[in-house]
């Protein structure tokens, strides 16, 4: 048994590697990823699941890692921005972001790229409306989104989903 003040041994697969961490059950997946695993590409924007900067893929589903207690992520498969490149979809999306002005200050960018990859996996040829909806959980204050939408559209055209 464990109370809130003792740590658990939690194993999960992050970016293809099995890792075991010692963490409090209610510790945020975000903090474990950033601090225990040193994967700093996942960002904290609001800490309440509104902005999507801390987005990671958990068993293929896009989640806000600030809302996931790490115990809930036990035995799951996590992909962060650092691991997304390995799965082949992302470079096309990333390149399109660069070309079309999808990244400005860059703080929402890792989460936004994960959201875009997730969307394209589900819908390889999304309509503009589907892109708007698909990314609406990720807030950006710099771009006004339109160049992000263009980038995702272009990534779809170039076959990011294949």
């Amino acid at each position: 048994m464990s109370d809130e003040n003792s740590k658990w041994e939690i194993t999960l697969t992050v970016n293809g590697k099995r890792v075991t961490v010692q963490a409090y059950a209610m510790e945020r997946l975000l903090d474990v990823v950033r601090n225990d695993l040193g994967l700093k590409g996942t960002k904290e924007g609001c800490g309440e699941g509104e902005c999507g900067s801390c987005s990671v893929l958990m068993d293929g589903v896009l989640v806000n890692s600030c809302l996931i207690p790490v115990l809930q992520a036990k035995d799951s498969t996590i992909i962060t921005i650092e691991g997304v490149q390995a799965d082949g979809r992302a470079p096309v999306v990333q390149h399109a972001f660069l070309e079309y002005g999808g990244a400005q200050c860059g703080i929402c960018t890792p989460g936004m790229i994960l959201a875009a990859c997730h969307l394209l996996q589900k819908k390889p040829q999304p309509t503009v409306e589907e892109i708007r909806e698909g990314l609406s959980g990720n807030l950006c204050r710099c771009t006004g989104y339109l160049q992000i939408i263009e980038a995702v559209k272009e990534a779809a055209r170039r076959g990011a989903a294949t």
Partner: protein, 758 residues
């Protein structure tokens, strides 16, 4: 256009310099940095708006021995956040002037223990009466700042306003208000400080103005310039919100580092960032305008008032920009602008993209629509008849020297937006149904660079360095936080030297390494700093030529070889350029007369909206943003600046409401302070005119702030057009529209009044 045909790099969409790091998650922001032995800091703030500290008690539930505790008594130098005035304490010693005033600092190596410790500190106060509105401040029932609650007054007086009223065919009056707005950069504020007895104090942080922080830390710690070092980390959005408050956080981290002897990191959470740091100044503008029979402005008075919060911070300069922009792109033969910034017991308001101009331009553009109604002209025609023309003078008496043709800009915007056809179509459609459509316009200008003599006082310096590997490096304190500072300055250097973009690097802004090119604010980077980078780059070439290493014409490779040879023979080669105010830029600060800005950018924006009378929500359906910003240095970045600015301004107009309770923000969360999402925004169609500008690098002017000025009045105008109701304040939320429709007649009476001379 200036030299366009010869340009290879300026005007092209080179890759964002730090783009690869950003898209791969490798870019390093302050919270990504960890130093050995680092502690985490937190701030104990007041919970009352005004009073005196009676007693501070530390609760027994915490083992305080483990914590580093800093109070005002630990400050080695002056207890202030040095900026324009030294009135804001770094930590409250006795008096509390707003409900987020910092009192104590705590640090611990386990950051999870900090929130409970902050809660366990209780402060007893002698409360004092507080004031929260501009009107309470003006009534002076309580004096909370200086002799009269007034941070600054400005008078702009042109011609003879007294004489215009009797000549007027119409006198049109109106009062307009704008609310506070949170910058809401997605990266919260943060700083790390470390003190080494040998090197002195170093801070790394999320910031716009390295030398502002440098100045504040020197004064606070009583250290000489060489013993304070400020390093800008990758900065996740700023919009003015990281202009002055980072000095406060750097000061706090520094005090904890000095006391503990260990590095200290302070990262605000979202709620603390929204509640405690600066927001856009709320404003109130009163217009009284004399208008001729044919709709020409004869003259008028403008009273522009902003709420500065509890301390002076930047209010005097926000006021200045707001006051100068209050006359907009129109010709005022006679005008008197009375502007003032007043104190209230709220956290200080501060810089936010536009810096006073979005407030006064909102008022003016709404007022132009009101004048149009009174004179029975269209909003288009009233603007056309009053546009400034080259040779005419602005409200400060600055002759328009640029060959701007606002009438032509207007015509193009009307065509691009299909204005006339939409106007007719909406009028037809609006006869039936529950969705009403409307179209609205705003025409405006934005001055680039510091106001008046500001650039002369800043006396900015940049350096360009020839490196031993043959490349060149740009050294400036101008920060990248999304706008593309690094990219455009490297483009300029590459263009000036005939190099490839890839041959130019950008030094991390670090006060130990880079000269003071001024703060990264005021739409000044492309125009002012860019021009200096161009000059400094040319200096490198001159030196290489003078030393016989470079011929009159050369290839990029020959340049690299010349650099390498020079550095090998003589050591480091740095070329410096310092700002010198052009002779035709003359400003009289006392009289507020003369050239307020070296150049203006100009724009006409048109918004089409739908108002749903079931939910009273507004959706923007189409947005045309047409502007003249001089040479567009980078088409993708420039477009991104405009779209991003318009998006923020849509929030300013329709969504973003700071809910105040006794000076404290009640909705300091992204859950209940609503900004636009990707699902909310219309197509924002961006068009540029490029007229060129002799004062900027390759003809560039300012671009960053301009798009914040026009959308709110254009959208509110469109909502008014849809509902045949006049709205005079923002944010305009569904409940405001509901109320306005419910009391339409009463509203019309209070929003303004007009009389026509018989």
């Amino acid at each position: 256009m200036i030299g366009v045909k010869d340009e290879r790099i300026v005007g092209t969409a080179v890759p964002r310099l730090e783009g690869r790091e950003k898209i791969t998650g490798q870019a390093r922001y302050v919270d990504d940095m960890v130093l050995p032995g680092m502690l985490y800091g937190a701030t104990v703030r007041s919970r009352i708006p005004r009073g005196r500290i009676k007693k501070i008690t530390f609760g027994p539930e915490i083992n305080w021995q483990e914590f580093v505790i800093v109070s005002a008594k630990d400050i080695p130098g002056k207890n202030c956040v040095a900026l324009i005035e030294d009135d804001q304490p770094c930590l409250a010693d006795e008096f509390i002037n707003h409900p987020e005033e910092p009192i104590l600092l705590l640090a611990h190596e386990d950051r999870h223990l900090l929130p409970k410790a902050v809660e366990a500190v209780s402060v007893e106060y002698h409360p004092l009466p507080a004031i929260f509105t501009m009107e309470e401040s003006e009534s002076r029932s309580e004096i909370i700042w200086g002799a009269n609650n007034t941070f600054k007054t400005i008078l702009i007086d042109k011609g003879d306003v007294q004489g215009v009223w009797e000549k007027a065919h119409y006198i049109v009056e109106g009062e307009y208000r704008t609310g506070a707005q949170e910058q809401l950069y997605i990266e919260n504020n943060g700083m790390i400080a470390a003190f080494e007895p040998q090197q002195g104090l170093t801070v790394w942080g999320s910031l716009q103005c390295p030398y502002y922080v440098h100045k504040a830390l020197m004064k606070l710690c009583g250290l000489p310039p060489a013993r304070v070092r400020v390093v800008q980390m990758e900065t996740g959005g700023a919009f003015g919100g990281k202009e002055e408050y980072p000095s406060m956080i750097a000061a706090h981290a520094a005090l904890l580092a000095l006391k503990s002897g260990r590095p200290v990191k302070i990262i605000y959470d979202r709620m603390e960032d929204m509640a405690a740091t600066t927001k856009r100044h709320p404003s109130r503008t009163r217009h009284r305008t004399a208008v001729s029979k044919d709709g020409k402005i004869l003259g008028g008075t403008i009273e522009f008032t902003i709420d500065g919060g509890a301390y002076a911070t930047l209010s005097s300069v926000v006021l200045s920009r707001g006051a100068i922009h209050a006359g907009g792109p129109y010709y005022w033969p006679n005008v008197r602008i009375n502007a003032k910034a007043v104190a209230t017991n709220a956290p200080p308001h501060g810089a936010f993209r536009g810096f006073g101009a979005p407030q006064s331009i909102f008022a003016l553009e709404r007022h132009m629509d009101r004048i149009a109604q009174v004179v029975e002209l269209s909003p288009i025609e009233i603007r056309r008849r009053n546009f400034l023309k080259p040779g005419q003078t602005t409200t400060t008496g600055q002759a328009v020297s640029e060959p701007i043709d606002l009438g032509r800009l207007l015509d193009r915007a009307l065509e691009l937006s299909n204005y006339s056809a939409k106007k007719d179509e909406f009028a037809r459609q609006n006869q039936n149904g529950n969705c009403k459509r409307g179209i609205g316009i705003a025409s405006f200008l934005h001055g680039a660079g510091f106001t008046g003599a500001g650039e002369r006082y800043l006396s900015s310096v940049v350096e360009v360095e020839a490196c031993e590997d043959g490349g060149v490096r740009v050294l400036v304190s101008s920060a990248e936080f999304g706008q593309g500072t690094k990219t455009i300055l490297c483009q300029i250097a590459a263009e000036a030297l005939g190099l490839r973009y890839e041959d130019v690097r950008f030094a991390q802004p670090d006060t130990q390494e880079v000269p003071n090119s001024g703060p990264t604010v005021a739409s000044r980077t492309a125009m002012v700093v860019g021009k200096l980078v161009q000059s400094a780059a040319i200096g490198i070439r001159q030196t290489l030529r003078a030393s016989g290493l470079l011929g009159e014409s050369y290839s990029a490779e020959e340049f690299r070889i010349a650099c390498r040879k020079y550095v090998a023979a003589h050591g480091k080669l740095r070329s410096l350029a310092r700002y010198e105010q052009p002779e035709d830029i003359v400003w009289n600060e006392e009289k507020y007369r003369g050239s307020a800005y070296a150049a203006f950018s100009w724009a006409v924006y048109i918004a089409a909206v739908t108002v749903d009378l079931t939910t009273y929500s507004v959706s923007v359906d189409d947005f045309v943003a047409l502007q003249e910003v001089g040479r567009v240095l980078h088409p993708v970045l420039a477009k991104g600046q405009i779209i991003g600015g318009v998006a923020q301004a849509i929030g300013f107009a329709l969504y973003e409401k700071v809910v105040w309770d006794n000076g404290r923000m009640q909705n300091a969360q992204m859950t209940n302070y609503i900004i636009p999402t990707s699902a909310d925004l219309p197509p924002i169609r961006v068009y540029f005119e490029e007229m060129g500008n002799v004062h900027g690098a390759f003809g560039a002017k300012g671009i960053g702030e301009l798009p914040m000025d026009g959308p709110a009045p254009a959208i509110v105008s469109a909502v008014g057009d849809a509902l045949r109701t006049f709205f005079n304040s923002i944010p305009l939320l569904p409940e405001d529209i509901f109320d306005a429709i419910a009391s339409k007649e009463e509203n019309a009476e209070h929003a303004g009044s007009a009389r026509g001379n018989p």
